[in-house]
Amino acid sequence: MDNVVTKSKDVTLLEILDRVLDKGVVVSGDIVISVADVDLIYLGLKVLVSSVETMERLRGAPMSGAMEEPT
């Protein structure tokens, strides 16, 4: 089980962008970070925002069985 990361360490940039800044409940607080705001972080990392979608597309059809995100 050497691949299990214990959670006492600092949260990685990956998990920050995948969880802390992307998921969790979004309510109409007086101030809420928008998707466009998070895209700015990707730009700061010199990641073309479109490249994330491109990666998905290159991999072909999305996998079945995932929970659909409510829209």
Binding site: V11, I16, L17, R19, G24, I41, L45
Partner: protein
């Protein structure tokens, strides 16, 4: 009094000073949170109660977290890392003693009254969600692939590629050029197909041990800070009694696919960021 507006490094949890303060919401729970037990941040945290729901909050400075300042700070990666870590650690601290619904980073209210209104509006949904989360944990599994290793172990076994190799060897240079192009396309297709197959199988196995499962967006190397490519990003809600079995299953997959260049990254338990039932729903006020 000295003006401190321009100092970006202020502690965002400090309560002193003459700055206007905002209310930062970390998580909600339906049992009184043990805030004294939250390491490092106990004295900054307090809760606001409304209709059976406790909201864990702290005050933050307007010079960091007003809409305009927050946007400016989001351009600063060090700032994001520091504050996102605080966000995460506080929720984890509360989560040790009670189930929680985590909020997205940077959910801020101008006044406690505004927050109370929000709690009143959504308290029933929060209660249902919290009840559903009892006895469960969120775990994340990300699968990465060393494409060169996968290529090495896969194309040897593909008849079509072996066939085209023979053709290339016995062709004129002009024809060989086109055959090589064709071969590259073929390899790409084979790799994609293989990655999808391995990813799908692994996901199905882990999904079978979970209560809920979801697939998230793949993230690029600039974010993962790894050399291999992410090929699956998934999150699972697991019965606490099944966590050991789940980790073992991930380990088995890792062993199974190790010589194909796949690597498994299993982390948890996380606050249930992926399993708050209305996570992405729009909930606009009038």
């Amino acid at each position: 009094m000295s003006v401190r507006n321009n100092l970006g490094r202020e502690d965002n949890l400090s309560m002193g000073g003459e700055e206007k303060e905002l209310i930062y919401l970390y998580c909600v729970t339906d049992k009184a949170p043990k805030l004294k037990e939250v390491e490092n941040f106990a004295d900054k945290l307090y809760f606001i109660y409304r209709q059976g729901i406790y909201a864990v909050v702290s005050k933050v400075k307007e010079n960091e977290f007003s809409e305009e300042n927050l946007k400016r700070n989001l351009a600063n990666l060090d700032w994001i890392k520091e504050k996102a870590n605080i966000h995460e650690k506080i929720i984890e601290g509360v989560m040790k003693y009670t189930r929680v619904i985590p909020f997205k980073f940077g959910t801020i209210f101008n006044t406690e009254d505004n927050l109370r209104v929000m709690l009143g509006e959504h308290s029933e949904k929060f209660k249902v969600n919290l009840t559903n989360l009892e006895g469960k944990e969120e775990w994340g599994v990300k699968i990465y692939c060393d494409m060169e290793r996968l290529k090495g172990s896969t194309i040897k076994e593909e008849d079509e590629i072996l066939k085209i190799d023979k053709e290339i060897n016995s062709s004129s240079s002009g024809k060989a050029y086109f055959l090589k192009k064709k071969k590259e396309e073929l390899i790409k297709d084979v790799l994609n197909k293989t990655i999808n197959e391995y990813g799908q199988k692994s996901f199905e196995t882990l999904k079978g041990l979970s209560i809920e499962a979801r697939i998230n967006k793949l993230l690029p190397k600039e974010v993962t800070e790894r050399k291999d490519d992410m090929i699956l990003n998934s999150a699972f809600l697991i019965d606490k009694n099944k966590v050991t079995e789940f980790i073992q299953a991930t380990d088995d997959l890792k062993t199974k696919y190790n010589n194909k260049g796949l690597n498994f990254d299993c982390t948890g338990p996380w606050p249930p960021y992926n399993f708050c039932q209305f996570a992405k729903e729009k909930m606009q006020n009038g």
